[in-house]
Amino acid sequence: MSEAAASPNGSPGTTRVSIASGPLVGPVLRRVVGMLAARADLPLDRLDDAVLVADLIASRAPAHVAAAAVDVDLETGDRTLFLRVGPLRPGGGDALIVDAAVPGVGNVIEQLADDLSVQPEGDAEYLHVRLAYPA
């Protein structure tokens, strides 16, 4: 876990997507993440990685969110995409990461993210993910 994954945090330029838990979480999140990964100028393989991470978050996060919606803040940097998922219920961040393990493959988010951290904020916690492509 790294401090480098701390952004975004409601800073200017951040896009927030809030999707009520249900059938729209996956389709909406993967499209938005794919679009922003392209804007961040991530190459195709890292763009695919970002969409895969989005799919995993979409499928696992509803079980761990603090409310009835999956909230994701997204921010683009130079060949970098930041995601901040939450608020999650206490313990939800680590549980989400564990849930993202795929039999025979391992933990996909851990393998694909350049930085991954769970940070408490108030009564909740947030999962921070950074996907990048080295210059």
Binding site: G10, S11, P12, G13, T14, T15, R16, V17, S18, I19, A20, S21, G22, P23, L24, P27, V28, R30, R31, V32, G34, M35, L36, R39, A68, A69
Partner: protein, 155 residues
């Protein structure tokens, strides 16, 4: 506003969704590049609900116009970079979609460059089944609520 006359046969033209999904909300800086993000989200929902292509095209055009109004007219300077400068709610309905576009800026007043609202609102009105324009949250800015439903053509 678009004329609408439902008929039994017409119900076969779109898929009835058993339970209408809950809404999707987006908060973004009011910058032109983010209009594409809204369109992507809209397309994802439309695809998931198997909405008719013509309806999706109308929604895409009207929502683009509404967001463009916010980008062009609502803010000056760096106010537009606030995370909640442009708020969009996409709320699936049993027969279509309700889309609400809000800002907290100057609303629909003419822009400082002299290019006031032109064809945008009439175009939105023509493409929607119902259109409501009011002040935004806390009586600031604007709120454009657009209802979309499939056009039923006479047999």
């Amino acid at each position: 506003m678009r004329a609408h006359s439902p008929s039994a046969a017409a119900h076969e033209r779109w898929r009835l969704v058993p339970a209408t999904p809950s809404p999707v909300r987006l908060s973004l800086p009011a910058r032109a590049r983010n209009i594409a993000v809204v369109r992507r989200a809209l397309e994802a929902i439309a695809e998931e609900l198997a909405l008719p292509r013509r309806l999706v095209e109308d929604m895409r055009l009207a929502v683009t116009e509404a967001c463009t109004n916010v980008v062009r007219h609502a803010y000056s300077g760096t106010e537009a970079d606030d995370q909640s400068a442009l708020r969009v709610e996409l709320r699936p309905q049993p027969r279509g979609m309700l889309v609400v576009v809000e800002d907290r800026g100057r609303g629909l007043s003419p822009s400082p460059d002299g290019g006031g609202p032109g064809l945008g609102l009439p175009l939105i009105a023509a493409l929607t089944e119902d259109l409501e324009i009011s002040h935004g949250p806390d009586n600031r800015g604007s709120r454009v609520a657009m209802s979309f439903a499939p056009v039923i053509e006479a047999a």
